[in-house]
Symmetry: C2
Subunit: 324 residues, 2 copies
Amino acid sequence: MSRAWRRLAAAPQAFLAAPAVSATAFGLKPTACSSRDKAKAAADKQSVFWISGSSQGCAKTLPCKFDHYGGVIVSPDGVPKEEGNFREMLASSLQEWEMQQKRGVWLHLSIEKSSLIPIATKEFGFEFHHAEPDHVMMTKWLPKDAPNTLPANASHTIGVGALVTNSEGHILLVRERTGPAGRSGVWKIPTGMVDAGEELHEAVVREVKEETGIDATFEYFGAFTMNHGGNLAHEGKSNIFFIVKCKALSNQIQMCQSELTDARWFTQEEWDALPFPEKGSLWWEINRSALAPEAVLSIKELAWGSNRPDMKRMLYFPLKRSAL
Amino acid sequence: MSRAWRRLAAAPQAFLAAPAVSATAFGLKPTACSSRDKAKAAADKQSVFWISGSSQGCAKTLPCKFDHYGGVIVSPDGVPKEEGNFREMLASSLQEWEMQQKRGVWLHLSIEKSSLIPIATKEFGFEFHHAEPDHVMMTKWLPKDAPNTLPANASHTIGVGALVTNSEGHILLVRERTGPAGRSGVWKIPTGMVDAGEELHEAVVREVKEETGIDATFEYFGAFTMNHGGNLAHEGKSNIFFIVKCKALSNQIQMCQSELTDARWFTQEEWDALPFPEKGSLWWEINRSALAPEAVLSIKELAWGSNRPDMKRMLYFPLKRSAL
């Protein structure tokens, strides 16, 4: 995998210097006719550069932009719906991009244009890169003498578990209706998935509210772990699971009937007496790491820098608990 | 999104009780003919249950298994290559699954069978769920009176940055060849992407070695942050970036020419004098969090429990630095 691309996605630090090539930029209109020299000159000056295949005498190539990694990003709106037209334009486009010594080609096909997918795969050697409900992103690596260095798809899911205590020090546990935990009938802490775009400390508060109706506030993070097992929806992916200590603002449980069969407050003695998770196991340690640690993960919000005071991010950082 | 499914992926704790429905289980052979009662009875007893459409008088339905969420998982190997055959089998299968009040249908189509994709989308209303280079996973939600509760695709990428010091307390910095950081020419710490299936503390050691040839050992984690900007390869996804303190075992830099234009050791004074990252900014705090913190994130390996002593996971937990 491309170290350069991997770094791009890995190190948001790099984005301080220039905006990344973003899917949202697809809305830009073509600004010039494709030609090797003009494209190169423009690409040297600006982050992305739209070239048009349908105007200014450059018929039959797909509208696209070039990135700073030698990549070609086809404009989704510029992809014709009609199969014969698509075949013809893609053929001449690939010929031109190969001449220009381009590297990776990115082809975003909306679900309405799915009849073009077999053409892209069978006739032009495109592969799938990733997909969301309404589109598939396909790629083709052009260099014959260099390995494919395009970055991989999203690789992880993120989970959070809430260790919620109330003013009496009782702990909130639930029994799930379905799935493995439902079948085994264990009492467990409320857990949930973090959505892309969501902060960890907000996701956990949302999950507690959705499952139990309890209003809770974030206190700090304890430990976390990774699970590489994957599952049907996340084949070959890993999951990072964070434990989050929360304080309940209310005691009255309003259980989500479709998700849970039971939910109640446990005293610490009752919790300790439960067979699951087994004492000394990973999950037991994770739960306990949020209850009486010497150090925790805390959060604060910081700006990227004085040139971007509006662009704030949460910093999650280790802290002695006594400093909280 | 389904809370139950989200919990499944979020809470590996649940897997202690029973194995998840996994794509690797696709290799199982059909064990019985499809029939509502038999399938239900079997599904109640075991985790997954294969039904065959091509034998025992049940012609024209696709081989599949049922999961404990009311889902139907079509066997990839049982999907016919021929379009007419696929159309006919999928039509009668959907009719049967609707009668059985099944909920989500999972259809894994290999790239060799991409001519079936437009049939699934246009004629049967399937959507994309996720894709990897050689296949696309499609889904269809059957209930007309219930919202789609299938879990979303993988949501995050994970990055690591290495704060590597040598025996003299010097810090390893690099200049990248391409991308935004390459164009701005900043000196920065080595960073990289964590692969699915890889541990954070191993990924960072690998990246340092690949970029600079330096052998380093993991010491501890500092802070981390999330970036929701996404990019072309990870549209709509978030990135979690961890800073990792490492100790160099060697001083001699062997720079990766294709990735970097420069790499060298900086004294702490030289590092402090650099304009990037700006003092007080998020990235400055992240870097500094790994240098002289009162608390850090440490790691240890633990088993899931006595019933699975072979199944070990890394626990990442906050610790007073003095305890290291």
